[in-house]
């Protein structure tokens, strides 16, 4: 029991940290457990993984909204709106996105529980066909391109991002496989940093800050936008069932489903968090990992000689009256409750962080950035000088795009989704054209 509680508490702490720190991809947290996997019980591993898996998405939005540094990739879609919000509005956004995330998670969790107890989870695999995956990626690309002001430039940026993305398929033609080699030492975070964060920060320095003198005591909660939360939750619950970076896809889809900036952000975050929960269904019911984080857990289970999904339906070693799946449900409910409280109760702390950073803008921002870059280099195993050269080039491009008022978002998404797109396209061609 002590081991289980320790796993739960440390999972929650790591989940919050990984969510808040942009340099760390969400799958880093479950990697932490890898060296201890042989000594930990399967229940402890599941609980730690689940807490970090949910927490990293939950708290990614806090960093994005407060500091405009995305804690995870899906927050990029609304990054450009944040500079227009006052501190009070940002704090209210954190409150609303936390509640939206909780509502979205509850929707997905309810679906998960219903599927478990009715025993109809096995039909989910039908959603993982190559055609549905490709269609979803095409919709995502179309939304990014046609929502931009200059469609042709957005298309070129998206294609450029795909071209420079790391390619893992050995079946690609050499010229296409080789395009990824130029950026093998450039991480996703470096791309976000160079194209989005640093250019925004440079512009921020030129503007007089509007936030320093705002009185925190004036903070009032706005009316909850339940409609956006609900819609985002439903969109995320459905898209979360598709393989790949479904939390990004659900975030983008929900964002474009609403018109007003606040509603868009709330919908995007609600969708993101519900997708994280619903993506558990194919993994837990069928033993088929569909996200990177799930791949990591799958590997850990293999190290322990355990077979997914069989182990999920066996009695839990802690309380034999319930199965491991029911233990997971209980932990997911606890995580959602704890994260909701953490995200809301510490609003004054978040406010203090923002005001402190704005008062010592240069100094603190540079320290945070340097720390994040260091973490990125350590965790992504890159060659430092190549990483720095890449980051410098990206920053120059980012500043140029900013000066021309061109949104670099399509390039970032192209870079993130490039490998998945090339895989899916080559499979579709082999299945239907060969």
């Amino acid at each position: 029991m002590f081991e289980l509680i320790t796993s739960a508490v440390s999972g929650i702490i790591f989940g919050v940290m990984v969510g808040l720190l942009p340099g760390l991809p969400a799958y880093v947290a479950p990697l932490i457990v890898m060296p201890f996997a042989a000594d930990l019980s399967v229940e402890s591993i599941l609980i730690f993984w689940l807490a970090t898996h949910i927490g990293s998405q939950y708290f990614g939005s806090v960093a994005t909204i407060l500091l405009r540094i995305p804690g995870e990739v899906s927050g990029m879609i609304y990054l450009h709106h944040i500079k227009d919000f006052s501190l009070q509005q940002r704090l209210d956004l954190i409150r609303q996105t936390a509640l939206g995330s909780s509502l979205g998670s509850v929707i997905a969790l309810a679906a998960l529980i219903v599927l478990y107890y009715t025993g109809v989870g096995s039909w989910l695999v039908a959603l993982s066909t190559t055609e549905s995956k490709f269609a979803l990626l095409c919709v995502l690309a179309a939304v990014l391109i046609f929502s931009a002001r200059q469609h042709v430039i957005a298309f070129i940026l998206f294609a450029g991002g795909i071209a420079l993305a790391e390619k893992t398929s050995f079946d690609l033609p050499i010229w296409l496989y080789a395009t990824g080699e130029y950026t093998s030492n450039v991480t996703v975070f470096a791309v976000i940093l160079g194209l989005l964060i640093i250019p925004e920060f440079v512009q921020e320095l030129k503007r007089p800050s509007t936030m320093i003198n705002q009185d925190l005591q004036q903070f009032r909660s706005n009316v909850l936008d339940v409609s956006s939360m609900w819609r985002g939750g439903v969109i995320g619950s459905v898209i979360g069932l598709f393989p790949g970076p479904n939390h990004i896809m659900s975030s983008v889809t929900a964002y474009h489903h609403r018109r007003e900036p606040t509603a868009r952000i709330i919908a995007a975050e609600s969708a993101n968090n519900s997708a994280i929960i619903s993506s558990l269904m194919p993994f837990f019911f069928l033993g088929l990992p569909i996200t990177i984080s799930e791949f990591v857990l799958y590997d850990i289970m293999q190290v322990k000689s355990l077979v997914m999904p069989n182990i999920m339906f066996e009695p839990s070693a802690v309380w034999t009256a319930i199965t491991r799946m029911e233990l997971v449900f209980a932990m997911a409910i606890i995580c959602v409750a704890v994260y909701t409280i953490l995200a809301q109760k510490f609003l004054p702390v978040y406010a203090w962080i923002v005001t402190t950073i704005y008062q010592r803008l240069w100094f603190l921002f540079l320290i945070i950035l340097a720390g994040l870059i260091a973490l990125d280099i350590v965790y992504q195993y890159v060659v430092i000088w190549k990483y720095i050269v890449g980051l410098t080039l990206l920053t120059i491009i980012g500043l140029w795009l900013y000066s021309r008022k061109i949104d670099p978002l399509p390039a970032v998404f192209g870079f993130v989704l490039g490998d998945l797109l090339t895989w899916t396209a080559s499979q579709l061609m082999a299945l239907h054209i060969s």
Partner: protein
């Protein structure tokens, strides 16, 4: 103050002592999936400090090995062939005496229950995990058995299994660790295997090359070489103890790796010679 200086000096000397930990690497990309699982299983058997080192870029992996000492690394023939075909030189320079063992892994050939057998004149799809010679195998099946298979590239065994279950693929190569639990659940049926010794669920008489004409002189298995680079006999002993340990070998057998060439006193030169000739044969017959 003097205490702090002493502490600092002690720490400076402690760093080289800590640096004697054994580094483990898998050469190739991507740095994820089964190779990293094997690496971690080996690490569990190393006594004393050890760490898994990873680099995204295979040229950096090679440079790291050339630069550092006290390393144990693994190379797989199929991955090396693929990197070589993509114009990347990922094989570090090493001597036969550095080779301390070898083992092989292979796949079952699976379908969804109810999928008909491969018949002449009927189009069927065949998926194989990234890096495997799936295209060459389909090509030989078609050429020598008058079949009409189509090769579909897939990232991993788990994705091959998903694509078979959801109906995207008719047939696919899935590693036994993944396929046999799904066979038990009735979601997959694996009538053939590439594993020469077979398994309890798919015995050796179901070897694909015994049931279909393939006309290759090489086995369609992935051969792993375990290579140690260290100047320190004590460190080499630590590595050998882990690689030859009963628990690591039992772990390999559990996942249907063949550990026949993984024991003390193994002839590294002979292993390397076989590995190189297999690689050349496989590259010419199944990858070109």
């Amino acid at each position: 103050m003097r205490y702090l200086v002493s502490l600092f000096v002690c720490m400076l000397f402690a760093v080289p002592a800590l640096a004697s930990e054994i580094k483990l690497m898998w050469i190739g990309s991507p740095q994820s999936g089964p190779p990293m699982v094997v690496l971690n299983a080996l690490r569990d058997n190393i006594a004393g400090p050890s760490t898994v080192v990873s680099h995204k870029d295979c040229r950096e992996q090679v440079r790291y090995i050339e630069r550092e000492d006290d390393i144990v690394y693994m190379v797989v023939n199929m991955t090396m062939i693929q990197h070589s075909l993509q114009g990347q030189q990922c094989l570090p320079k090493f001597q036969p005496q550095h080779v301390i063992g070898s083992f092989v892994s292979a796949w079952h050939l699976c379908r969804r229950p109810g999928t008909p057998d491969m018949q002449p004149g009927q189009r069927w799809t065949f998926g194989a995990p990234n890096g495997m010679p799936g295209r060459g195998i389909v090509s030989r099946l078609n050429q020598y058995n008058n079949l009409d298979g189509v090769f579909v590239p897939v990232l991993s065994s788990s994705q091959v299994a998903t694509m078979i279950i959801n109906g995207d693929l008719d047939w696919g190569m899935v590693n036994p660790g993944m396929s046999e639990p799904l066979m038990q659940k009735g979601q997959l049926e694996c009538p053939y295997t590439f594993l020469p010794q077979g398994t309890d669920m798919v015995p050796a008489d179901r070897l694909l090359s015994r049931n279909f004409r393939l006309d290759t002189t090489v086995d369609q298995v992935a051969t792993w070489l375990v290579i140690a680079k260290t100047q320190d006999p004590a460190q080499r002993k630590r590595i050998e103890d882990a690689v030859y340990s009963d628990s690591f070998r039992a772990w390999l057998r559990q996942y249907h790796f063949s550990d026949l060439r993984l024991s003390p006193g193994i002839d590294g030169a002979a292993l390397l010679k076989n590995w190189r000739s297999d690689m050349t044969g496989m590259e010419q017959q199944l990858y070109r």
